[in-house]
Amino acid sequence: MNKNITFDLSLGTLGKVILHFFRLYLGGWMIISGTSYWLTQAGAAPIFPQPVGNMPLSSQMLVTMIEVGLFDIVKTLEIVCGVLLMLNRMMPLAIVLALPISGVVWYNAIVLNLRTDRLFSPTYMGVMCFYMSIVLAFGYLRHFAPLFTWKSRIGHVSEVKTIFEAMRRDETVDPR
């Protein structure tokens, strides 16, 4: 059924528009970045040549990560994260995947490659991907707030079912 959605012309609406844009752009970037790597691994032409760093420490980190196979995991998670972001599904999981990946990208760009001149460049995804991930995390803060529970009790194996309950939940119609 095609429902109508009413929007206020307010900062809240603008915030949601920005969050959706960040979700889609970051998702697109993750998909293309991950796909390019796997195209190379499959013997096909990549979308872009994998950067291996301009400065020595960056090169050492990137080449080592690729040669020991860690990039296989990173790039697979990038694709998973990108698809979830683009489809607007399991957003908290997508953000949990995006934050460490984009954090390392930021560290590589700023700390290892010394690109401090582009620290806040809106067109440089080497830093923007991390900022977008942080902003998205604030947009879904209620999912992460329980991480700060001061004293937690140990759970029970039967709580695995809560994962499947969460997968069935649609917050757009059931905002619990």
């Binding site: 095609n2 429902k3 109508n4 959605i5 009413t6 929007f7 206020d8 012309l9 307010s10 959706h20 844009f21 889609l24 752009y25 998702g27 697109g28 970037w29 998909i31 293309i32 390019s36 190379t40 032409a45 990549p46 979308i47 872009f48 040549p49 994998q50 950067p51 291996v52 760093g53 301009n54 020595p56 420490l57 960056s58 090169s59 050492q60 990137l62 080449v63 690729i66 040669e67 683009m86 607007n88 995804m125």
Partner: protein
């Protein structure tokens, strides 16, 4: 009270799909087309892989011109006098004495090089471009036997 406007759910979905596809297209353009990559056999490989393939083309297949065009960057820094094997028609045989040593984008080859009946032990320190690509410089050290 702030102004309000109403859109159908399908219109919102269509807008999001358009923005998503535009984002994908923009990122693809920025990474694939806009940089104007000079694609070739040296591009998008790990540094030791580049050097291995370059050595195969140069020493096993004798393709000096091919190596200069595809594996060396246009501004590659090397002393031509120390690299006679890069001259077309020169036959050179190389045997690695150690596995290739990689450190980031720098690869060191310790090899025995035979050219025109003269055999020498040579150490090449090879710097690869930042995109896993062509060789930016080679420093050659020849052992005094």
């Amino acid at each position: 009270m702030p102004a309000q406007f109403t859109l159908s759910q399908n219109t919102v979905r269509a807008l999001l799909v358009v923005v998503g596809l535009a984002s994908l297209g923009n990122i693809y353009y920025q990474l694939h087309i806009a940089p104007g990559w000079q694609w070739g056999p040296a591009i998008d490989k790990m540094p030791r892989h580049v050097v291995t393939d370059m050595r195969t083309a140069l020493y096993d297949e004798g393709k000096a011109d091919f190596v200069k065009a595809e594996y060396l960057s246009a501004k590659a820094e090397l002393d031509p006098a120390l690299f006679p094997e890069l001259e077309a028609g020169v036959t050179a045989k190389s045997t690695l004495l150690r596995p290739l040593l990689g450190d980031g984008r720098q690869v060191t080859a310790v090899h025995q090089l035979e050219i025109n009946g003269t055999t020498r032990t040579v150490v090449d320190i090879i710097d690869i471009g930042a995109r896993g690509g062509r060789i930016d410089s080679i420093q050659r050290y020849i052992a005094q036997n």
